[in-house]
């Protein structure tokens, strides 16, 4: 209970001092959001959990090299993003993902017809659409909306410019907006 009120830095210092069990607090703090990001990037729940476990172990093993120069979340999400890319590249799914990168986002629209929106629960459907974003877009959207990271922090994680992060973010948002407009979902959502 008390541990949950501690900051990331305090927990890391405690783990570094030998209180290994305190690391569980960090795991609980980040597991859901990181898992969501990985699930959106890898499009597979099983892979997402496996990669997430790997990420937490990597972070634990390299905790001594974490010098508090950036936030733990930035450092950890860089591990998560890079491990996910490695997994994608190993699975050769990266080729497919590259084909559907930023400029081809609109392919997603054709996957859904008007009936889907009438029959299915909107929130579920939108979740499905978000889950189908290309890996980089999924990562940006997750970090921006779920983790509430700034575009500067995201650019630090992804090692791309802030302008590029904004482009990815705007295009992901525009895609969803277009779907809302096309399907006349505005009244239902508002």
């Amino acid at each position: 209970m008390v541990m949950n009120n501690l900051t990331d830095v305090e927990i890391i210092e405690s783990v570094k001092k030998g209180n290994q069990a305190d690391y569980a607090v960090l795991i609980d703090r980040y597991k859901n959001k990181a898992f969501t990001m990985l699930k959106r990037m890898l499009k597979n729940e099983f892979d997402a959990e496996e990669v997430l476990m790997d990420c937490f172990l990597k972070a634990y093993n390299n905790l001594n090299s974490f010098k508090f120069e950036s936030k733990f979340s930035t450092w950890f999400y860089r591990i998560v993003y890079n491990t996910a890319l490695t997994k994608l590249s190993n699975s050769k799914r990266i080729i497919e993902s590259e084909m559907s990168s930023i400029d081809d986002l609109h392919y997603l629209q054709s996957n859904y017809n008007a009936d889907d929106f009438i029959k299915a629960d909107n929130s579920l459907l939108i979740k499905k659409i978000v889950n189908e974003l290309p890996p980089k877009n999924a990562a940006v959207v997750s970090m921006f909306y779920l983790e509430e990271m700034s575009t500067e922090e995201i650019s630090d994680v992804l090692q791309i410019s802030v302008a590029n992060v904004k482009v990815i973010l705007h295009r992901s948002r525009n895609l969803l907006r277009d779907i809302i407009e096309k399907r006349n979902l505005l009244q239902e959502i508002l």
Partner: protein
């Protein structure tokens, strides 16, 4: 209205425009129903993305990760003890050889008049070691030593492989 594109609308939403531009876009949205509809759709897309709930890994995820960390820590300790044992054994052998070499050197200095209790003891040990390091015994000893080292090396390799496997899955 025409010069207000998607990028500007997104920047307006994120409040990244200066005051003057913000006002210009606000007025344009208020006066153009088409732009208003577009902006409202963008606003709801933003709201939806904000409200999408996060998923959770399996219920015992934290326990699993902590378990793997525990295994890794235990295997690292065991590895330390194993290395310590092997190195101690080798150290003892080296000490034995060094002792023998010293004995030979001292014995060669005191060849003329060996007397007293110490000399008797050193003679006994010397005889024993001389017998032990005879050509035949020396080759057996060398073979045993090589065998021990090979076995130790194999177990060390196997142990490391096993630990890695445990840690990885």
């Amino acid at each position: 209205m025409n010069n207000i594109n998607d990028e500007i609308l997104n920047k307006y939403l994120d409040e990244e425009l200066n005051r003057e531009e913000m006002n210009r876009v606000r007025i344009a949205i208020e006066t153009s129903p088409q732009l208003k509809k577009k902006y409202e759709a963008l606003l709801s897309a933003n709201t939806i993305l904000k409200n999408v709930e996060s998923d959770s890994p399996s219920a015992d995820f934290t326990k699993k990760v902590m378990g793997k960390i525990e295994i890794k820590k235990a295997s690292a300790n065991q590895q330390k003890y194993f290395l310590f044992t092997v190195l101690s054994l080798l150290g003892l052998i080296v000490c034995g050889i060094t002792g023998y070499v010293f004995y030979e050197v001292i014995a060669s200095i005191q060849t003329s008049e060996p007397s007293g209790l110490v000399s008797n003891y050193s003679n006994t040990i010397g005889d024993y070691l001389s017998a032990f390091f005879e050509k035949k015994n020396l080759s057996i000893f060398g073979s045993v030593l090589s065998f021990i080292m090979l076995i130790s090396g194999y177990f060390l390799y196997d142990y490391q492989k096993h630990s890695k496997k445990n840690f990885g899955h």
